[in-house]
Symmetry: C2
Subunit: 335 residues, 2 copies
DNA sequence: ATTAATTCTTTACGCGAGTAAAGTTTTATA
DNA sequence: TATAAAACTTTACTCGCGTAAAGAATTAAT
């Protein structure tokens, strides 16, 4: 940088200022620097920069599973939102493992990020560890909330989204039976279960739950196995299934197909199946999956905004507000 | 670190050595350090460390699309392999955009990584830029090769994998028609096309190509649209379709289902569809997709090994060897 | 026990920036 | 045009660690 200062005819401190925020220098000097930059193509050393900065311009983004298209999608939108602010997103996936989630957070710590956006594993997360982390580093939780953590939360309004789906299903056919995992890892699952029960009761129907055994994140497989069992058993309370999420529904549909059960709205169909999330693949299932779309854009945008409010100290650390976005019914062929 | 040296009773240079490679100090001192570490939990500053190291312990991994389950899968396996070596993987996705691919590489440069594993976009990649990068930084290409780049390549043996699939299909029914994109971004697509043609001719059959219009990485949609057109048109050369990749096949199957065309091996089916890659979702399509599995583990492992050979200077920079792994036929219900 | 080979400690400098302070030049305001 | 404000230059120190060199302490080999 010393050398570049010499050849460009601009003092090193000014250059330093420029690289931190190009807008903080006079337009004329900014132009001179940019011209010199073209000519000598110098690039400040990332490590030296960050060594002396209290906070870097990095923002960590941690999700449970990077290979889950749902998280991949929301992570991508969040990435875009962060880039627009001039910060650099650092994506990390926890592969569904609590140890890795913690390790990711610790690694982020050593990067001294300006803030962190965390979609926690949920039930499996090390609550205490996440909590201390959120107290040390400006953080915002998204997708899944952990109660009692000192960080704002941005996510979907499961009451509303499950509500409109139950409404829709009841209006157009038999009331749905809820298909879920017995002991879900994801906190949203519990909210959806409760929302289902509440909606059903509000409409004067009796709630029915089918709870699949199985742990982990292999939702399609669990949906498939339990779906096959259920379809074979043939003793469904109603002819309509509402799955707790699309991945379960994808497995369920696959099982139904294999068992020769026709799913959909056509007269010859004996079953209706709906999902939740508008998973990228739900557009291509057979039949295409009726589901509730989460407002990815809004969630991503608000998460980033909320994080920057925390970073800039506009909100107090203990303000634990919760922002929920409504879902949108996506009507397709399966229900 | 100075402070930690004081309280732990070990000199700073020795500590420095320890953190670089815990095995490089005497076991007795290693133990003493670890005990002190428990007690005072000190963590060296990442930026200060890397500022003075010529090469960091980071390894960049760049793939075209992190949200594509195929890349997510192979990236994950590669991650594991890197972690085993004590290095730190840094995952980056290019979102299918050549500018972002270049930006990712430039960002990696400023991180001074020990090496980079790159799955290039392919045809869209900025060949010259990638080439200079590979000359500056020890790199290995995987998944997709770019001819004339000075870096080793590790990938699938498309000749073999398409070959066994064509063999299988011809042996068990009508010879396949090849379904692909007219102008694919991915270099593998060309190899598969040629492999298909060669295999068909070797078996004495006439090759037939269906080439879908459309650009970009929305393969399912392209497969769906063109699949519907083809199925509706009804003038297929044979009753068997071999798709250039699983994502096209997933779209195709969805279209076939919607059009009421039964796909599979059962007597009532009028069409067979096969794919390529053993995409994570191919297990759950309707019917389940017969495909060729790439040897993810082997490709990941060898990629990492090859990279370390380059890093350690065992291979010359211009050695441009190519390692290909055979695919494995995965017989399911669709063909 | 003696010698040689390892491993540590001490001391000291370097990396590439951030940043503070004081003085100088440029630009905006009156 | 005078004056104040803003932006810049100079100088100098800091950050936290890598690393080299020389000598002291420990361990292994004879």
């Amino acid at each position: 940088m010393e050398d570049f200062a010499a050849v460009s005819g601009i003092s090193r401190p000014t250059l330093s200022k420029f690289f931190n925020d190009p807008g903080s220098v006079r337009v004329s000097t900014k132009k001179r620097i940019e011209e010199a930059l073209e000519k000598y193509d110098y690039q400040p050393n990332l490590y030296a920069i960050n060594q002396n900065r209290r906070l870097t311009k990095n923002i960590g983004v941690v999700v449970p599973y990077l290979s889950d298209p749902f998280f991949a999608k929301i992570a991508r939108v969040i990435e875009d939102n962060i880039l627009e602010t001039g910060y650099k997103p650092v994506l990390l996936g926890s592969h569904g493992r609590p140890e890795l989630e913690i390790e990711n957070l610790e690694n982020l710590r050593s990067i001294k990020p300006a803030g962190v956006l965390l979609a926690p594993l949920g039930r499996a997360s090390d609550r205490a560890h996440v909590d201390t982390f959120c107290n040390d580093v400006p953080s915002v939780l998204f997708d899944a909330n952990i109660d009692g953590i000192g960080a704002p939360f941005v996510g979907s309004n499961n009451e509303q989204s499950v509500g409109i789906m139950v409404d829709y299903l009841c209006r157009t056919g038999e009331p749905p039976t809820f298909f879920e995992m017995k002991s879900p890892t994801n906190p949203n699952a519990f909210k959806r279960r409760n929302a289902y029960i509440a909606s059903m009761e509000a409409l004067g129907h009796e709630p029915n739950l089918i709870q699949a055994a199985g742990e982990g994140w292999e939702f399609e497989e669990i949906g498939f196995q339990e779906g096959r069992r259920v379809v074979r058993g043939g003793k469904l309370p109603t002819n309509t299934i509402l799955c707790s999420n699309d991945r379960l529904a994808i497995g369920f549909l696959s099982a139904a197909f294999e068992e020769g059960v026709r799913v959909g709205l056509e007269p010859e169909c004996t079953l209706r199946v709906a999902g939740h999330d508008d998973h990228p693949f739900s557009r291509y299932t057979c039949p295409t999956l009726t589901t509730v779309s989460q407002d990815y854009e809004a969630i991503a945008k608000r998460s980033v905004e909320t994080l920057f409010e925390r970073i800039e100290g506009k909100t107090t650390a203990d303000s634990q507000e919760e922002t929920l976005f409504d879902g949108r019914l996506v009507m397709r062929a399966s229900a």
